[in-house]
């Protein structure tokens, strides 16, 4: 009896939450229509997001590039020509590691940041104040951040791809005594623009999800500092899970069946 009751309550809660999230999405989509009301803020948010995220994106890229080069050379041990190091570094960085690792790091950085900022605004009634001054929080707060995330994530990931590849190249020359030509030969051999396209679209979808979840959790924060902390934590957890889900989704729907 109790179990059934508890399950029922849990299901109802989930359904309600889904309904709220749906309405939130719908309103954000509506607000997207009035470009003039969000555009000025979007450029501001893009600058902020870029400045906040670029260092962490570059850091990840450099280390991943080096590690991948070493990993590849270890795995190939003579059986495979060493210039395949270039191939492996190029493929894994552009297709998977640059978008996903950067995305996960930014889920922590950007997602928590947005949830904490909007959460604080919510619990100190700044969001209510915006509404009484006839600003729509969806077009004033949510849409600019989501647009900024969807545009800036791919940009940052694009830079991370180049830097990661560069780090792998330098590591191959410096640590593996591969010649520059060999590395580049490997990298070019199986390169396709699809790799970059795929990685960047994925990054855009991560940016969209991370910022949207951050906004949703932030605006729904309740009850003081603790509520804001919870919102930030939840934003990070949900964003990270969402990134993994989206990663699998793209692999299954877009990557799969191409080869």
């Amino acid at each position: 009896m109790n179990v059934i009751e508890a399950t029922g309550r849990w299901v109802r809660f989930r359904v309600e939450e889904a309904g709220r999230a749906g309405r939130f999405l719908e309103e954000a989509a509506l607000a997207f229509g009035s470009v003039r009301s969000w555009l000025p803020n979007a450029t501001l948010q893009m600058r902020r997001l870029g400045v906040d995220s670029l260092p962490i994106g570059l850091l990840i890229a450099v280390f991943t590039g080096i590690v991948l080069a070493l990993l590849a050379s270890y795995s190939f041990t003579g059986a495979v020509p060493l210039y395949f190091v270039g191939t492996l570094v190029e493929k894994t960085i552009t297709l998977e590691l640059a978008p996903v690792l950067t995305g996960l790091a930014l889920a922590g950085r950007v997602g928590a940041n947005i949830a904490a900022e909007l959460g604080t605004m919510r619990v100190t009634e700044q969001v209510d104040a915006l509404e009484t001054l006839a600003y729509d929080p969806d077009s004033y707060l949510v849409v600019p951040r989501v647009v900024a995330g969807t545009i800036m994530f791919p940009l940052i990931v694009g830079v991370a791809m180049i830097v990661g590849l560069g780090a792998g190249w330098l590591a191959s020359i410096g640590l593996l005594h591969l010649s520059s030509d060999e590395f580049l030969k490997g990298a070019r051999m199986f390169f396709s623009t699809f790799d970059v396209e795929y990685g960047l679209v994925k990054a855009g979808s991560f940016g969209f999800a991370v910022t949207l979840i951050g906004c949703y959790k932030g605006l729904r924060a309740r009850g003081g500092a603790e509520g804001v902390g919870n919102a930030a934590t939840q934003a990070v957890v949900y964003s990270a899970v969402m990134i993994l889900v989206l990663d699998a989704f793209w692999a299954m729907t877009w990557l799969h069946g191409r080869s």
Binding site: M121, Q126, L133, A134
Partner: protein, 269 residues
Amino acid sequence: MIKWVDVYKAFGEKKVLDGFTLDVHEGEAVVIIGYSGAGKSVAIKHVVGLLEPDRGTVEVDDNDVPTLPRKELYELRAHIGYVFQFAALFDSMTIGDNVAMGLRKRGEMSESDIAHRVAEALELVDLPDVQHQYPAELSGGMRKRVGIARAVALRPKYILYDEPTTGLDPVTSAVIDELMIRMREKLGVTSVVITHDMRSAYRVGSRIAMLYDGRVRQVGTVEEIQHTKDPIVRQFIEGRATLEGDAASLAAPGPAFESGATARGGGAE
């Protein structure tokens, strides 16, 4: 005209408004008094659609606020100034930008006219030199006055003041009282004022309503409230610790009401 008709509002199990009915006519200043947590803020949030009633209606100028389409709700909000209990200033913006926010949204005025209006509004609340500071750099009382300036700058038809003088020193309180009176008498602003400060209530109000147990316990002119026979209203306005007890402080009723809230269980219930 602002009109609450039989409004019910609960948060989960907790009933806050339980048949709240009150009219505010053009040009009036209705003061709402009541214990902390009685639901005064909740009541006025309904006027601008920040909260929706579970039952009952809230009307402003014959618009039914809860059912108003989004666009019209925002239009209505542009005519209502709202002074938040804890100021609710945008802390990422300067004071000047805070006060200018509503004017910029309207988009009817040039930047120089807006600057002029902002300076004027800050002058009215006796804060001429803070335009370029940030909310975090101001004291609580100063922030509160900026909140008032932000509402006043719009020259709205209605202003809702949520405890505009709580926590201010007596002289600043008097300045704010004067401002509220001037807004009404000179500019014809209709206002709703929530306050615990009976001195301010008597000075500012054309009528006073006491919110108690989710509904209006009594509403009347200042005169009528001062001579009320209702023991609960009497206790509140005189700041007594118990229903029958002596007035805690007749001379200075203001601060005594802080203890009124804690005495609630003792006498009123």
